[in-house]
């Protein structure tokens, strides 16, 4: 009896300790809850927290390819040109710009009275220093596309610069947007630190970056465009969807990007939260190897397109968020022209299959990565194509392996890919990047992403031609031809265009998400 009593007492003591601990944390918890709600409701708190889904890779604007790093850089750094809410090009550090008719000379008139975060003045020499870094630094080769075509950067006077190219490059204006201008002092003194501590002219200056945890920027009070802004912005990489949603609900984060589709209803019912739906430039498609039998017959490719219900794709795979892909480029891309879509028509699809001699269908293979959404998409295609007798086998591969399989083929004959479930995203202002790597015959893997091995002499000619002119009307005309021709040739199953989803607390102002998923905080404020 005595033995049990001792242990009973111990047990009671343990339970009491746990309860006491619970009570004491309730007290402190109460405070933190108040703090949280205060953060989002009072409007006096000047710190904005943005939770994104991935880590930032580098803060070197001349060596960055990922959207999240770009977003943060945009808060601190500016280019001669910037982009607006629609993703279209606007003047930024340049007040005006012009392009010569032969698309070889770009002249910029610079904004005066702009200073860098380190006190250096912004002028034509600063532009030259940054541009020369992009051109000359070997390690930035990947991001110097366009800049390797520059023959000279002429400083006309303190606030005028002229850039000359050796051959026309239609994506050059977009390259000027990404070529953020860094403080010349930073470039000359300590190029090793650019990736960690960038210095630019943006509305916010760099404070701290703890890898994998957070990156903080602070308002730059000498910014040329005076306006009310939050004092501090902290960016946090939060890969788990549920955690990001929880942060938005508690007010720990003011903006989350992306907002997960599965939590939208729950978030929409919360009066403190707003959901933003932005049509993107992310095209979802399946590339069809046009050099492989039976896909080399355009009727088969068209039949496949007629067999797939795009509306159903959006509701099943994208949970209803998205738009049908009604051209080879999304509608937010410059020079987009709408095409007559392949409406869901099983009879027509079967007819085309019969004409092509495949009345009874055939066996096919579709490749994709291991992402659960990709898998869902491939299963959807599998189910849809079954209706016209095509039996699709799904091959799901980890991204690195898949990349090896796709780009390992040195010639079209070596390529094993039949269909690839994939997506593509280009800057809204860069139609070249949305077309050339995907449809030019010079872009067959491993030289580009034309995984449909699509070859059309007219299209090849137009793609070259459109790059050689600076006349927007002429470009629009050529792009219209390119779009209608390729859409008819159906080297892809044209599926959909994603809608980007972001969430914010209702007191957030002046933050917008661009069609590429970039977060712009130039005018960020809290009500």
């Amino acid at each position: 009896m005595r033995r049990v009593n001792v242990w009973k007492m111990l047990f009671v003591a343990l339970v009491s300790a746990i309860l006491l601990a619970g009570c004491s944390s309730e007290e402190s918890g109460g405070t933190s809850e108040k703090e949280n709600s205060g953060k989002s409701a009072s409007g006096k708190d000047q710190e904005l927290v943005i939770a994104v889904n991935e880590n930032f890779i580098s803060m070197d604007p001349h060596n960055t390819g990922d959207t999240n790093s770009n977003s943060v850089q945009t808060a601190m750094l500016e280019g001669l040109l910037g982009s607006d809410e629609e993703g279209q090009i606007i003047p930024q550090l340049a007040e005006e710009y012009s392009v010569s008719d032969d698309a070889l000379e770009y002249s910029f008139k610079l904004r005066q009275g702009v200073t860098f975060h380190d006190g250096e003045s912004f002028n034509a020499e600063a532009v030259k220093t940054s541009f020369e870094r992009i051109m000359n630094d070997e390690s930035l080769r990947l991001n110097s596309r366009g800049f390797n075509l520059i023959t000279s950067i002429d400083v006309i006077d303190d606030y005028q610069v002229k850039v000359t190219l050796k051959e026309p490059y239609a994506g050059m204006l977009t390259r000027f947007v990404s070529a953020k201008i860094l403080s010349p002092k930073l470039i000359n003194d300590s190029s090793g630190d650019i990736g960690k501590t960038p210095v630019g002219t943006g509305p916010f200056k760099f404070v701290e970056w703890v890898q994998g945890d957070h990156l903080t920027v602070e308002r730059f009070d000498d910014y040329w465009n005076k306006a009310d802004r939050v004092k501090k912005i902290t960016y946090k990489p939060v890969p788990e969807n549920g955690s990001r949603v929880a942060m938005l609900k508690t007010g720990e984060a003011h903006v989350i990007y992306p907002a997960p589709v599965q939590n939208l209803k729950e978030l929409e019912s919360n009066s403190d939260v707003e959901i933003h739906k932005i049509p993107s430039t992310i095209a979802r498609y399946v590339s069809i190897n046009t050099m492989k039998e039976p896909y080399d017959d355009v009727r088969i490719r068209q039949a496949i397109n007629y067999a797939v219900n795009k509306e159903a794709f959006i509701s099943v795979v994208n949970s209803g968020y998205g738009l049908p892909l009604d051209s080879i480029i999304p509608s937010k891309t410059q020079f987009y022209s709408k095409q007559e879509t392949y409406d869901h028509n099983i009879e027509k699809a079967k007819e085309l299959m019969k004409e092509a001699g495949f009345e009874d269908g055939f066996n096919a293979e579709i490749w994709g990565n291991t992402n659960s959404d990709t898998l869902k998409g491939m299963q959807f295609i599998q189910q849809q194509l079954k209706e016209i007798g095509i039996t699709v086998e799904i091959k799901s591969m980890e991204e690195g392996t898949l990349s090896d399989e796709i780009y390992g083929a040195q010639t079209p004959e070596e390529a094993k890919v039949q269909m690839w479930y994939v997506s593509w995203s280009a800057y809204p202002s860069d139609t070249t990047n949305a077309t050339k790597p995907l449809f030019s015959s010079s872009s067959f893997p491993p030289d580009g992403a034309n995984t449909a091995y699509y070859k059309n002499d007219d299209v090849d000619k137009w793609i070259t031609e459109v790059n050689q002119t600076a006349d927007p009307d002429k470009q629009a005309e050529i792009y219209s031809n390119i779009q209608s021709t390729i859409y008819k040739d159906a080297p892809w199953i044209f599926l959909g265009v994603d809608e980007i989803l972001a969430g914010s607390r209702s007191n957030v102002e002046g933050v917008f998400i661009s069609p590429t998923g970039g977060i712009n905080v130039t005018d960020a404020n809290l009500k």
Binding site: V4, G29, N63, E138, E240, A246
Partner: protein, 307 residues
């Protein structure tokens, strides 16, 4: 004892050498070309080749290995292919949070596991035993991912006691460490229970009780101490796994630790980071094993190591 420890540390050198070779070659065997992944989908072959050369990936694998090893001997872990930052710098921010998280998880697991296990054994087949074992079974069966999200929902969203993620204050560590420690806590509770039950049936316990020793002396001093050896083994092994196995928990709680870094690096084929991190885990694993062996002899003086 000191001699034994020294000998074990010296033995680590050839082991680590072999491990480093295995890590290097296995890492390079994973399919996927880092240069292509760095370059992106729209890169031309020429661009990919330039990057491959810049990263030194165009050299024969033996060359790359020799460079890797000679850098390693000079204490240089290499430069990340993805971020361009020195690997050691990338570790600097993440290593300590991971260590704190691991220790805290192990702390919960040990304290709660031993307590629940002991109480269950002492109150065998009574309600504390049932309650303890139900807790233990739940702890083992609940996936960390799910448990983490539930804890966030209750303690962060509903009650607002703890932040949902990050590693900014001690509060940030509570939920992830509980999540991470839950499985081991349960395992330790079950092992402690069965080991203690066995010891309580032993002759020396009966003798002790017959001699009139108090229960408060018999249980902690005689029974528990002797039951701990299998428990220490399990705890040691699990501790090794904890160091590298916290990927899921680190993801759920957006915790800036080593586990998440490893997963990100594998996806990107960031060879230098993968290699350095695996090597670090191996060293940690070997060290933990050594500590476990030393603890054996502290718990049971009959176990003595001779060099």
């Amino acid at each position: 004892m000191l001699q034994y420890i020294l000998k074990r540390i010296l033995e680590m050198i050839p082991i680590l050498f072999i491990v480093s070779i295995l890590i290097f070659f296995f890492t390079h065997l994973i399919p996927g070309d880092p240069a292509r992944l760095v370059a992106g989908k729209d890169a031309t072959l020429e661009e990919v080749n330039i990057i491959r050369a810049e990263l030194g990936l165009d050299k024969p694998i033996w060359d790359q290995y020799i460079t890797y090893m000679s850098n390693l001997f000079q204490g240089d872990l290499g430069t990340s292919l993805k971020t361009g930052l020195p690997v050691s710098e990338m570790f600097a921010d993440r290593f300590m949070p991971s260590i704190y998280l691991t220790f805290m998880s192990m702390g919960w697991a040990l304290v709660l596991g031993l307590l629940i296990g002991t109480l269950s054994a002492v109150f065998k087949n009574k309600w504390p035993d049932y309650l303890g074992m139900v807790t233990a079974v739940s702890g083992i069966s609940m996936p960390g991912f799910w448990l983490g999200l539930i804890l966030i929902q209750i303690f962060s969203v509903k009650l607002g006691w703890f932040p949902t993620g990050g590693a900014e204050s001690w509060k940030s560590y509570i939920l992830p460490s509980l999540t991470l420690g839950a499985g081991i806590m349960s395992m330790l509770a079950r092992f402690t229970r069965s080991s203690l039950l066995e010891t309580l049936r032993a002759d020396f316990i009966r003798t002790g009780r017959a001699k009139g020793l108090k229960e408060s002396v018999v249980i902690p001093k005689h029974a528990l101490r002797n039951s701990l050896i299998p428990v220490v083994t399990i705890a040691g092994l699990q501790f090794g796994f904890l160091l590298g196995g916290s990927v899921v928990v680190e993801t759920v709680f957006s915790f800036p630790g080593m586990g998440r870094l490893l997963i990100d690096s594998i996806a990107f084929r960031d060879y230098p980071v993968i290699q350095a991190e695996l090597l670090l885990f191996s060293i940690e694993f070997i060290l933990v094993n050594l500590i476990v062996d030393i603890m054996y002899s502290m718990l049971n003086p009959k176990i003595r190591y001779v060099s």
